[in-house]
Symmetry: C2
Subunit: 193 residues, 2 copies
Amino acid sequence: MLTTRKTNRRQLILDEAAKLFKQKGFGGTSMRDLAREVGMEAASMYNHIKSKDEILDLICTRIAHTYISQLAEIEQTEASYADKVKALIRLHIRLMIEDGAAVSVANHDWKYLPEPQLTAFKDARKNYEKGFAALIEQGIAAGEFQPVNVSVALFTILSAVRWVELWYRPGRELSAEELEDHIITMLLTGLAK
Amino acid sequence: MLTTRKTNRRQLILDEAAKLFKQKGFGGTSMRDLAREVGMEAASMYNHIKSKDEILDLICTRIAHTYISQLAEIEQTEASYADKVKALIRLHIRLMIEDGAAVSVANHDWKYLPEPQLTAFKDARKNYEKGFAALIEQGIAAGEFQPVNVSVALFTILSAVRWVELWYRPGRELSAEELEDHIITMLLTGLAK
DNA sequence: CTTCGACAAACTAATGTTTGTTAGCTTAAT
DNA sequence: ATTAAGCTAACAAACATTAGTTTGTCGAAG
């Protein structure tokens, strides 16, 4: 095929790496493990990628960019703050379902990034959190939200959305959309009657 | 001193190990790293512990037992279901603050446990979740909670409480108790007005 | 003829652990 | 009190294994 080109082999390596990193962690995955999954010798992979660290960087950077660009898009919307926050929650859940392995890696293994990229990743995440927090803050100011502690609300939402990776399986009782609805209900209206 | 006995050296190793495992992960921490922190050669530590795996097991098992015994204690209380759930949330937050390193290890590095202990740990966690879920279920049946999806509520709570490890620093604006109150408010009454 | 992508083999560094040894303490017999 | 034996916990050195990566080679495709 013509489509079995450079980019595909490289992407195959990145995809399998994300799966293995999620399963066994960055340190727990050897290049030989990865090579077996890709169907290639470890040495051969170096024709497509520069290093194991580069694999991690490419995965983390892609996810970070996705979040940041989607946030920017939602910010420009003219919806209410409540709807913007809901949209962000939906984004997190959907990304976790559609690209779960990579998101898990960006959530857990980012700390193994080598130094120039580590700082870049942390800065990107900090910016994202700042933008998210601003929406909550403005929502409170606009009277759409209760006057909660903004940091507590932000990190409760960000964390509450992470368990999807451990729990959601495509053929489960809940569809993706139902799951989003349930989580949003839980976070916005709470458990108590 | 008389108190510089067997148990203390061993406990020192476990404590420093928890800190390092939290910081750099189980795989990212070498026995030589740990030895330097303890103030001893790597070989010397084997007079106190059997293996690196045993260190991980001792940390994870201790935390698992803490959660399980505390759950049993709360279950026997005669409080409302809402109060029992609140007590469990407080337990998680307090344990995270007081024993943060070990809790982090039990949350993240349990998957590196060797096989007989891995299954034991997963079973223990499953049992804990079952007991927690039962409280939510009974709370709904008793009309104390909204009729939410029990699994969604359970894992939202369990996850929402984890970020404390990444965020809380003793000298922060919020005291431990204030933090508990804020998180409980967020989870029980939600963000929306 | 050149390029690409695969491979086997080897390299260096680091890993968890074992071994052999030794200094210092405790204990009990002399 | 002194000595001898035994135990504890430290160390240096070495072990086998595994890690990520480099090198040289070779066939196939353009």
